[in-house]
Symmetry: C2
Subunit: 205 residues, 2 copies
């Protein structure tokens, strides 16, 4: 009775909100049929990173080709290195009936929405701006000026929340992870996920 197609679940939010940690915890739950998308990048593999597991490592020519051919759901240039989400990998998984999680920044999520409106977009919200600032401060050794820029940027990013389907406040990590788990479970119960072919019932009458 279930449709075969999987879901595309986009987890995004301002930088330092904790989306990486949330996704890591989520995958510890070993949810059946759920996969994390693998990004493609032009940066060099770090020690221990495996091609096709942590990332797909490609050179800049190949990446440019992927952009030109529309092979990416989204991409970005970060400090001279490209990062992107290969469309084929994601669509293949979805067609296999797997649900795929993309953990990406706001700009990436915006691109995905343009390319795949059928996705489920989850915005991770900081409990407050003050708390987001604390998390940014904790992360690094940035100068006051850079912190101000990041905070201004985060404020702009939060404006995008209104384009998402769900908002999960990252106040308590366990609760945030549970909410995302529940969103996935609930989305799997949506009417549109079922092929209500009642003939299979009729035969049993």
């Amino acid at each position: 009775m279930k449709n075969q197609k999987g879901l595309l679940i986009v987890i995004s939010g301002p930088s330092a909100v904790g989306k990486g940690t949330i996704c890591k915890e989520l995958f510890k739950k070993n949810i059946e049929n759920l996969e994390l998308s693998i990004s493609v990048t032009t940066r060099n593999p770090r020690h221990g990173e495996i091609d096709g597991v942590n990332y797909y490592f490609v050179d800049k020519n190949r990446f440019q080709e992927m952009i030109d051919n529309g092979e990416l759901l989204e991409y970005a240039l970060v400090y001279d290195n490209y990062y992107g989400t290969p469309k084929k990998y994601v669509i293949d998984k979805i067609n296999e009936g797997k649900d795929v999680i993309l953990e990406i920044d706001i700009q990436g999520a915006k691109q995905v929405k343009e390319n795949y409106d059928d996705g489920i977009f989850v915005f991770i919200m900081p409990p407050s701006f003050k708390e987001l600032k604390n998390r940014i401060l904790k992360r690094g050794t940035e100068a006051q000026k850079d912190i101000d820029i990041r905070m201004k940027c985060a404020f702009d990013e939060i404006q995008h929340a209104k384009y998402y389907n769900y908002i999960v406040v990252n106040d308590d990590l366990d609760k945030a992870v549970e909410n995302i788990y529940c969103i996935i479970k609930a989305e799997r119960c949506k009417l549109s996920r079922y092929n209500l072919d009642l003939f299979e019932f009729k035969e049993e009458l």
Copy 2:
């Protein structure tokens, strides 16, 4: 940041599908801010039943008055006794920010949808018709003819599934309860549940 208004969650499905058992198990989880609606009825209280706890007990004149005044979200006549859902009770709870569960039959759910389209409608589906028949057989001592009528009726009821938001297959009780729990949690994270007043963030900048 949260909206104050609660959710109306309608749990319905064909008779004998197990919606009563699911709701009983759901309430054992003591979900914060969740209440089961109390029905109004013209039948006499059974031993131990308390007015305003198990039911609101009223006489037929008062019930007729409630119908005439549009005081009911839905009602039905079952073997000479009326049962209904008092609108005021439900709306008051929702306005207090409580989420309210209605566990009702298909006809009742149809009436609620006409009166309160903003509800979340969950259809409990039997894993198969064969299994539903087993459950009906287990319940009572009905004659073969009555069982045939009930099965035909259940088949008609299942046609209504397409008007619901979610479908939960009652294959495994724990899984069905978890799915409904997740639907409630996920619905609470829906964008529409938030009042994205970013000024409260701006003040912190």
